[in-house]
């Protein structure tokens, strides 16, 4: 299939949104938990988490102002604090359900049956049922002129994950932790490791590293 821009723009609206949202392939799916200044919790499933840098450790989230994520963005601006919690198989239905438009006085935690865990005195709750959680503090917001979205960059304050999800090389293995990915807005995937490759050098052919230490979950 080859679609030029005219053909893309001519797609029926829902099909265009479904196609363009999924065409980049698998991406992280996380629950972003926040609280407003009064301590009322909010929870939103998001698929725009990105790595920004390792030193300092920075992650980004892209927000569309016209969706249910709006409360999350308002809370982050108000308190500066948020947590990012990986979605795994046992909580994927509840996670997806947070995308419904609940009234502002309803906490999505209660509505979907997940538990707000106020940990370490942090101003935003963690998702108790998540295996991997990250606490972040807002450090920069960029407005994307092209379409009015907002890129929120946060600095990592703490990282919580199962010991056995860390490989010998020190990296995180999403398969071992059961962390899911999503394509587009509604289809969730589990990842199985295919190959680990050695650091590439111009004068050496590509070499695969034994992946026996990787989970084959």
């Amino acid at each position: 299939m080859r679609l030029d821009r005219t053909a893309i723009d001519a797609l029926e609206s829902r099909r265009r949104v479904a196609l363009i949202n999924s065409i980049i392939g698998l991406r992280p799916v996380v629950l972003v938990a926040t609280a407003d200044a009064g301590g009322r919790s909010n929870l939103a499933v998001m698929n725009s988490l990105m790595h920004v840098g390792a030193r300092p450790p920075l992650l980004g989230l892209l927000f569309r102002p016209d969706t249910v994520e709006r409360h999350t963005l308002e809370n982050i601006r108000a308190t500066g604090a948020y947590t990012v919690n990986h979605v795994h198989g046992a909580i994927v239905d509840a996670a997806h359900q947070t995308s419904a438009r609940y009234a502002r006085d309803v906490s999505e935690f209660d509505a979907v049956g997940l538990t707000a865990d106020w940990r370490d005195g942090f101003e935003a709750p963690f998702v108790a049922e998540a295996r991997v959680s990250l606490a972040l503090r807002l450090c920069e917001e960029q407005n994307i002129r092209s379409n009015g979205t907002h890129l929120v960059i946060g600095e990592l304050c703490s990282l919580h994950c199962p010991d056995d999800a860390i490989t010998d090389a020190g990296s995180f293995d999403p398969a071992s932790a059961g962390s899911l990915a999503v394509a587009g807005l509604d289809t969730y995937y589990h990842g199985g490791p295919v190959a680990r490759l050695a650091y590439a050098r111009a004068d050496v052919p590509p070499r695969r590293i034994d992946t026996a230490s990787l989970s084959t979950d």
Copy 2:
């Protein structure tokens, strides 16, 4: 495992980079192809592709100026044109190898054994061996103050993918296309579908949609 910021910063440098790069979980891995003003091609594997919006169709790429991706960024600024090509199992070793530091006068296409396909008169080549390719034109660059990275946003000009990778709902299925994901810098994953969920409504419990139409590849 619980690491606070002090413990994260105290990790040995390579382990910190490995952990922070992988902690968001699975993300897209693509080959970004460009040409300089003289038509010399360049190819770089990247793991920072992001969805920015569907109308207009916008994708983002985050660049660190101090890596081999630098030539890619210079070419995009010079010509405005680039292609994004999904990595599948048969080209993953070659794709990874493009991350080696080749001299500027070496095209990574030649060095790693992939084929530059000059298609549709577009100013940047496509990767002939890729099954899914996107042609993009630069429309915005944002500088991230927190760490000096550059977010490049491009508008989709054309989309090339196998017919059978498009679901009945019009979305792209990365499993069916064999498109891989990556965690961190060196570990590649294949995604298998777990669940597709219906559009969430506050007054309806989460509902799974039959995924028989999804590939179980």
